[in-house]
């Protein structure tokens, strides 16, 4: 993002701060590591930055997550501001205070709940987003429908063309409504002791896809899009939702350009591989995988499921 928006941000901040230092981070989940985080710490210490320093996270979700965790940890906490430049970050990761880096054994395993002072969304940035990233961002927008707001789901179904064309008024509404829903949920459960977990609809399967393929192969939103299809199918198998709703949601996910067929992670024991990856998810408890399931009328619940049912959903989803 640096070449495109750095100058604009620097200009806007120039009158408010004596000194502005720039740290450029490598982008992509594969770089959400301790080594990248340390680039921020090195720069802060080299410049003698104190506790009044404010970190501005200009970029997508990876930059926001890393900058947020750096802000949470540097001198045990300095203020930070999210300036998300991707749809995914604007509608999801920049709001709610989840910050983290990845560990070789799991995604987002090391981090903090740490709220930004504010989140600034410049919708102009979406015009330069590659189509694949636009679609990935729409996965997190779609998510808010089945878990919280069926009217929003219907609105999206009626505006797929405008969303893909990045019509400004349509994008503005999509971003605003997404942030409203997220803020409402997080406001009731900041530290994810219960309700907040519903925001991870599609993420349990999605994280397994990301980890199993190697971070960065599929975009996070792509994995979540496919993961929502799988979670909806699991909800149907458990009798929570009609098959028609699974078809309807799958259709919307496909129309915005997201994958709806899951990747085979292991030719010999594909379902076993998925299950093993999901067992290390942060939401699991004592080895039981927790799934976010939906009821087809705008409500979500978090519960476990028998391994053989999950395995069947995985096989169906990989060979749809």
């Amino acid at each position: 993002m640096a070449p495109l928006y750095l100058l604009r941000l620097q200009t806007a901040l120039a009158s408010h701060f004596d000194t502005i230092h720039v740290v450029t981070l490598p982008d992509g989940e594969a770089f959400k590591t301790w080594e990248s985080l340390n680039l921020i710490f090195d720069a802060l210490l080299r410049h003698g930055c104190d506790r009044k320093t404010v970190l501005f996270a200009l970029g997508g979700g990876v930059v926001g997550d890393m900058t947020g965790f750096a802000a949470a940890s540097y001198m045990r906490g300095v203020p930070f501001v999210q300036v998300p430049t991707t749809l995914l970050a604007q509608v999801d990761s920049s709001v709610g205070g989840k910050t983290a880096i990845n560990h070789p054994l799991g995604k987002n395993m090391i981090g903090a709940f740490y709220q930004p002072q504010r989140v600034i969304c410049d919708l102009d940035t979406l015009n330069t987003l590659p189509p694949r990233e636009l679609s990935a961002g729409l996965a997190e927008v779609i998510k808010y429908g089945p878990i919280a707001d069926m009217a929003f789901l219907e609105w999206m179904e009626a505006h797929v063309a405008e969303l893909l064309a990045r019509d400004p008024a349509t994008m503005a509404y999509a971003v605003r409504r997404s942030c409203e829903i997220k803020a409402h949920v997080v406001g009731q459960d900041e530290r994810e002791s219960g309700l907040r977990a519903i925001l991870n609809f599609g993420h349990t399967f999605g994280h397994a896809i990301e980890a199993g393929m190697g971070y960065g192969r599929w975009l996070h939103g792509e994995a979540v899009g496919c993961g929502m299809v799988m979670a909806a199918r699991l909800s149907q198998r458990l009798g929570l939702v009609e098959d028609g709703f699974v078809v309807r949601l799958t259709r919307l996910i496909e129309r915005v350009g997201l994958p709806v067929v899951a990747p085979v992670l292991d030719g010999a024991d594909n379902a076993g591989r998925y299950l093993a990856l999901m067992r290390v998810d942060k939401k699991s408890e004592a080895g039981e995988i927790k799934f976010v399931l939906i009821d087809g009328s705008g409500n979500a619940l978090v519960r476990g499921a028998p391994d053989h049912v999950v395995a069947e959903v995985i096989e169906t989803s990989c060979h749809a």
Copy 2:
């Protein structure tokens, strides 16, 4: 600590937890690094530990600081319990929720404010403490006198022999009173926006000594002991306290076996080296070093001081 107390702790916990895993950390400030921290994350993930996992920090301040930061960051926060086995950790670092690791450019630069669920002090552990560590721990006990409680200072002066002999009742009172004072101060300012900084009496000079000599050469408490002499001398130069009080405090620090002559850190520009190291301290603001100074009647204040006065105190303290 593992060989001495691990079995005792495991036995005590066995009836409360299904599974107990042990991670052994290298001890000493030099090992308070990301690499050591990662030993904890690796073990947690390898064993599939979830958010209900409780970390027990059995050991001294280094183990407590690292385990606390690991607990603060693992899956964005799991509960932890401090089980300090050194006097220093019992009277200071285990109480108050400061956790951190070191960065090559500064001590405790990366961490979190994160409170333990509880702190368990087994005074029997003090019997096996090497004399040098006992003295180092007494530095943090002495600290509480000049900043908060002159009666406690007098009590220490009257009980140096019993403290060095580890008389159980005397140690119990020293630990209890230290924790009371620390809890009182932290309770008013958990995130160190003001008052809490007085607990760092002796630490600004002390951190420079530790960083300048290389972590681990002097024990933290030794550096703090000498740092208190320097901070008292600076208070005297600035007209805050009588010279007699500096002599009195120096005498007590020396009697418990701590160094009172500061090390020369750079033969060519010793004061300059000290000042440079102190400028990256977390308490500095916009390059101004903040010192905790005392008034000789149980009160402390935090303020800057002219470089030339600080330099003179450094030179006097290095060649006392």
